[in-house]
């Protein structure tokens, strides 16, 4: 069973205070560590677990700049056999559907029984690529997947719905699954694996290699246009208790006492 996993490198922003870059269309990425998009890391782990049980190889594919090769190498260090980077300035600024189009062009010629993606990207907040990719490849899909059982020519998956309800589906292979976080425990790469992966070749695919016209991909090929970024309006918000940790905590303890919680 050969599996393609689409991965993306994103800046780590969960714990950081962000700044909007001049021009107003991106954030200041300096000082933010780059990492694999978290759901993609779970997708990679799921692919490695499945191929360990059912044989086959994992190929990781990304669309990104030079720096994103780090994510591909880390994936190979963990056990992916091959890596492809869809690399062309023409792909810059593409929206979710444009990105899915570029990935579909790269994935369609690979040998796969299953394609896994993360169900969501932490940077652009989109939940589009996996489901759109399936449509472009002409194969079925499911997203928000938190359980995968591989059967004969099919997979039984659990999709996480609101309120923790799980929807069980049977899906024929090949298919695309959008993997949700928490489905497994992603492994760490070994030092040996990292050393070996550093020497591995990464296949590069430009728009022309994929039979795509540079004018129909990336920003130019997107149906949506990013007009600008803003910080969300502050709204009413919290009363901030200032001071040193003991001072602020003292104020909070007084409030909790006044309200009868202490």
């Amino acid at each position: 069973m050969n599996i393609v996993v689409c991965v993306k490198q994103v800046p780590e922003t969960a714990e950081a205070e962000l700044k909007i870059a001049s021009g107003g269309k991106g954030i200041v990425e300096e000082g933010l560590p780059l990492q694999i998009n978290e759901p993609d890391n779970y997708a990679l782990e799921e692919a490695l677990l499945i191929t360990e049980e059912h044989d086959g190889d994992v190929t990781v594919v990304t669309l990104g700049h030079d720096s994103s090769e780090e994510v591909l190498r880390m994936s190979m260090a963990k056990g992916a056999a091959e890596a492809v980077r869809v690399a062309d300035p023409a792909f810059d600024g593409g929206d979710g559907l444009a990105t899915a189009g570029a990935l579909a062009a790269a994935v369609k010629d690979l040998d796969y029984d299953l394609v896994l993606t993360g169900c969501m990207a932490s940077d652009d907040g989109n939940t589009q690529v996996g489901v759109a990719l399936a449509e472009l490849l002409g194969i079925p899909h499911a997203t928000y997947v938190t359980q995968v059982d591989v059967g004969d020519g099919k997979v039984t998956v659990g999709r996480e719905l609101e309120g923790g309800l799980i929807e069980k589906l049977e899906i024929g292979l090949p298919c695309v699954l959008g993997i949700q976080t928490g489905i497994n425990e992603p492994r760490y790469a070994s030092i040996m694996g990292i050393a070996k992966a550093s020497k591995r070749e990464i296949e590069l695919k430009a728009a022309g290699d994929l039979g795509l016209d540079a004018g129909s991909v990336g920003e130019a090929g997107s149906g949506t246009v990013l007009d600008g970024l803003e910080f969300p309006p502050a709204g009413e918000g919290a009363e901030i208790l200032d001071g040193t940790p003991p001072e602020a905590s003292g104020k909070l303890a007084d409030i909790l006492k006044e309200k009868g919680f202490v």
Partner: protein, 324 residues
């Protein structure tokens, strides 16, 4: 401008709130754009739900068929696509829910329509729609518009818009669509309810919830102690469950539990909307986070901006002091 089409979402024979939230917003957009709102309702035995939609839409279109009983995007998509091709709406609104996220991107590809997902606000100017959506885990708003397209697709975040009182009294009619059989390539099997654990956090009056900021499993004791001091239980945001540090039944948020305690203390939780939607109804909300712009502070009544590893121990001492 052509009509605005809203895809109704329901589960177990009940329309979900997102449906009314979208219809309310669509009504105000339609007024600005000089057009009408049509609700598209797919399902099996939908008569009663259709009547329920009539006061929120100018027109309710139903496709009532046994194959549509359970949501399956492989069956729903061709039916929705047929309706969109036949009606030519200016915009199609779909919930940014587990249902909509599994449908909208493939539908957009099939229709060659642009898609903006997880949208929190929509505006219309002349014939052009523009939207606001959140990126970087809710820390930044992105303003997005569309290139010229006859139909744009928008998935709408749950709770982004209020449920308005419907006053429309629209017509209900059947849309004659070809409903495919459920394909072998994607078959619905069953719904499985979430497992029930030993602690029901929804029953507790005080919840101390912990998020990614706690960093290591060994630090969990810190929030456990704070919870005990306040006579409450420990809840959490998704990353803590993903890491396996607490069971799923402790997760607060849209894919976990919705809670309404008297006191909710969020420790090291940035406050993505999935979490906020599960706890915003708490009476008093306190947030402790090191990022002053973390969205959790917009939902909280009181906030402390600081390192939780300094603030929580100090808070424990101060609580002991005021308790005397």
């Amino acid at each position: 401008m052509n009509e605005i089409l809203v895809l109704a979402e329901h589960r177990d024979g009940e329309l979900r709130d997102i449906t009314f939230e979208m219809l309310g917003k669509a009504a105000s957009l339609a007024e600005t754009g000089g057009t009408t709102v049509t609700a598209l309702l797919l399902g099996a035995g939908v008569g009663e739900m259709a009547d329920g939609l009539a006061c929120y839409a100018d027109e309710v279109l139903t496709v009532d068929h046994g194959n549509l009983a359970n949501f399956n995007s492989a069956v729903y998509q061709p039916v929705v696509a047929e309706a969109v091709k036949s009606r030519g709406p200016a915009a199609v609104l779909v919930g940014s829910t587990a249902f909509g996220v599994d449908l909208a991107p493939s539908l957009a590809v099939e229709l060659s329509a642009p898609l903006a997902s997880d949208v929190i606000d929509i505006a219309v100017d002349g014939d052009a729609f523009s939207v606001t959506r959140q990126i970087y885990e809710g820390k930044i708003d992105a303003k997005v518009s569309f290139r010229d397209a006859p139909t744009v697709l928008i998935t709408v975040r749950a709770s982004a818009f209020p449920v308005e009182l419907g006053t429309k009294g629209g017509s209900v009619s059947e849309f004659a669509a070809t409903v495919p059989d459920e394909p072998a390539m994607r078959r619905f099997v069953e719904y499985v309810e979430a497992a029930v654990g030993d602690v029901d956090i929804a029953a507790s009056e005080v919840i101390v919830a912990v998020g990614r900021g706690i960093k290591e499993e060994e630090n969990m004791a810190l929030v456990q102690e704070l919870a005990e001091l306040l006579g409450g239980v420990v809840g959490c945001s998704r990353p803590i469950v993903d890491a396996g540090w607490l069971p799923k039944d402790r997760q607060v948020g849209s894919s976990g539990k919705t809670v309404k305690p008297k006191l909710y203390v969020a420790v090291g939780i940035s406050g993505q909307f999935q979490h906020i939607s599960g706890m915003k109804a708490a009476d008093t909300i306190v947030a402790i986070n090191k990022d002053p712009k973390a969205p959790i502070f917009s939902a909280a009544d009181y906030g402390i901006v600081g390192d939780l590893f300094k603030v929580v121990p100090a808070l424990k001492e101060k609580i002991a002091e005021v308790r005397g």
